[in-house]
Subunit: 239 residues, 2 copies
Amino acid sequence: MHGNIYIIPSTIGDSGIDVIPQKTIDVIRSIRCFIVEDIRSARRYLSKIKMPVTIDELTFSELNEHTKTSEIADLLVPVLQGKDTGIMSDAGVPCVADPGALLIDCAHKNNIRIIPLTGPSSILLALMASGMNGQNFAFAGYLPVKEPQRSRRIQLLENRSKYENQTQIFIEAPYRNMQLFKTLVSICNPSAQLCIAANITLADEFIKTKSIEDWKKSEPDINKKPCIFLLQSVVSAVR
Amino acid sequence: MHGNIYIIPSTIGDSGIDVIPQKTIDVIRSIRCFIVEDIRSARRYLSKIKMPVTIDELTFSELNEHTKTSEIADLLVPVLQGKDTGIMSDAGVPCVADPGALLIDCAHKNNIRIIPLTGPSSILLALMASGMNGQNFAFAGYLPVKEPQRSRRIQLLENRSKYENQTQIFIEAPYRNMQLFKTLVSICNPSAQLCIAANITLADEFIKTKSIEDWKKSEPDINKKPCIFLLQSVVSAVR
């Protein structure tokens, strides 16, 4: 019998573990084998969770941007041998804007049962709080850094929002947030709505939706803060 | 001073409340004023949460597909008068494939603080467990019911998945799940990947990703079960 793979959300930044449901905590406490984005972050999180065994009794493998595709199958060996395994990323939800999907894809091909657990996702929380269309939305990840690709991409997203009434969600490396903000306000239609959601779930969480025109009058304080951007061109009555 | 609006996830179907984080439970218990999709479902959920006051001491307003746009502003009156208010839908996360976004949009325009809380979202959980691209994805809601619009839409989604490497997520009324499944296997490329995620968070949760070709050999048991469909045309190595 194969083990199961549990997809385990972590806290985002330094929030308390009260954002993690009891069921997720119970599953984490029952697992001894972890595939993680970074071992040090994982240990820190598990010590907050108060594991019933010492950290030395746990097994950790790393899965991150340095992992070669050819190494993915090896990570599944303990699972195929019957060990329940948890996959965790540094913050939030694995496999969504974070490593993990290739491993899960490989696990499906090996007929391994996948069990996703509930926890905080900054993308989902930002969408909920944006007031934008949640019946039709797209997440584009990171935008191109260089011009003119960056501006072209923003225009493409704005057009798609306009013609398909699809909320466009994207992110940026936190130290480039203000640069992206400035590009957005200079390129987008003044009537387009922009939601900026920074430090989600933390004490200084900031979530605000305003028109591009209104954002021009007051810059947000988002430099170096983890941030989700959401763009909507047309405000539709159908939600 | 205005009150805050808390966006409160509920359980999906009959799962235990152990999928709801303690922080979310604590906020629910502190609130007396609720805007809900359906009052009876909301009362049932709140009785599981064990409110510290009787249900009679709580105020409920309804916000659902019968609510007129002109009535939205009225729902905010208690918030503008200082009352902290929670918005809840029947299952899962408000404002995402569920009512609420128009109210939140109106709240932003009134400078009300919006606080989204963590809880189960079948769309997010399905995406996590699908093994499909979580760096670039789109949720399209319900597909058109009639042909040829339905087939055309599926082809459009498959093409977008193929040319943009964007995972396509969509839903159907549970009694039409099998009909949609049959259309998908008849239209999509045999090599395209289809993930079917049914009864998420429940005891008989079923999540499986297979090629269209493989799905043809074994129909899933998803009739009348709440279900998320995810389609990916090309398996990319970049995740």
